[in-house]
């Protein structure tokens, strides 16, 4: 049962743990786009996404010493990112509800009408479901890897994806049929 495991992530993490900034910078460039993609789509706001990515990498730098072999480097990195993003999502959602301002924007960049519709549908997913969806369809992580990243079972991953698809299909196909 091979996992999407890039051994050089692990090496870079170990070097980062020893304070090697160049290795950290390599990791940063390797994951920058993927991290930003998840954060931006979950949080729906450029500034919040950049804050989350920055915080995730700060944590990677500070905690690299706690990285252990036997855990793929990518899994460890995605775990840190999704932990940061889920927490930011929680705080922003509750705050928006209470203040009646800054509603959590669900829109992804892009003008098409279908995209707006689908986005509205996806926004109804719980935070966990959205993260699972992003890891699967944006980052193409296998089910087992997503389960490891989020500390959930493969069945829970599948449940989240099934619900997302159901929601989408209902949303999309009702008007046309």
């Amino acid at each position: 049962m091979p996992v999407a495991c890039d051994p050089s992530d692990a090496v870079l993490l170990r070097r980062t743990a020893r304070g090697d900034e160049a290795s950290f910078a390599t990791l940063l460039r390797r994951y920058e786009r993927r991290f930003y993609g998840v954060a931006r789509r979950l949080l729906g706001d450029d500034r919040d996404a950049e804050d989350a990515v920055q915080l995730a990498f700060l944590r990677v730098f500070a905690r690299a010493g706690e990285y252990r072999d036997g855990f793929a480097g990518a899994t460890w990195l995605y775990r840190i990112l999704t932990n940061v993003c889920i927490d930011a999502y929680r705080k922003r959602r509750a705050e928006a509800r209470a203040l009646g301002t800054r509603p959590l924007p669900a829109s992804a960049p892009g003008p098409r009408a279908e995209r707006v519709d689908l986005e509205a549908a996806l926004a109804r997913l719980p935070a966990e479901g959205r993260v699972v969806l992003l890891l699967r369809y944006v980052d193409d992580l296998p089910y087992r890897e997503i389960a490891r990243v989020r500390g959930i079972t493969v069945n829970t991953v599948k449940t989240h994806l099934r619900r997302a698809k159901l929601l989408l299909r209902r949303h999309l196909e009702e008007p046309s049929r």
Partner: protein
Amino acid sequence: MTTDRDESRIRAVLGDVTPPPGLAERVLRAVRARRDAAAAAALRFDIVATPDGIARIRLGGEGRIEAAGARARRWADRARDELGEYLAGLRTFFTVPLDLSGVARFQRAVLASTQTIPFGELRAYRWVAERAGSPAAVRAVGSALGGNPVAPIIPCHRVIRSDGTLGGYGYGLPMKERLLRLERETPVLVACTTTRVLCRRGCERERRVPEERRVVFASLAEARLAGYRPCPICRPAA
């Protein structure tokens, strides 16, 4: 049932996102700044305790403790530990009791509603005024919070103007910003992937969870759905 068409639609709607230019450089600068700042002195505070609880805290103090009697001393010690953990990003809630007997009624009502604002979240002055039973007294709420004797245990730094600007703070705006940033960066609900227990950050059980077994959840409900249960010690809600 799923189809490839659904999946390609999902991929299309999720679209492509490009990181803003210079993101990696900004992160590197932040990491360097943080490393340099780590050597800077931690924030200290003075504590005044009575047998009933904590009566006064002064942020930026010299670490002095005033407590008459063993009971007061115990509260002061607990407050010192909890404040230290809070300021280090290791704690999201306080268990030490407060003694607000010297505080006037209106201010006590304002402080009581402020105390219900969850860690890491913001509320408007108007929200506090409504909860304190005086919806028109928004300005008075501002001064009542300015005189909060037990900041940051009663989190008046979480109260801002409804236009999103910070408003005031008894210890100055840089301190308010510092506390808000600290709370943005500290996760609230942390679970362990082996024990399947969900804790509030700062719980004694949470502190024993190693990094690679930590998962953060958005709510107790979502954690339950994923097969986690709430810790009986810190009892996370919502």
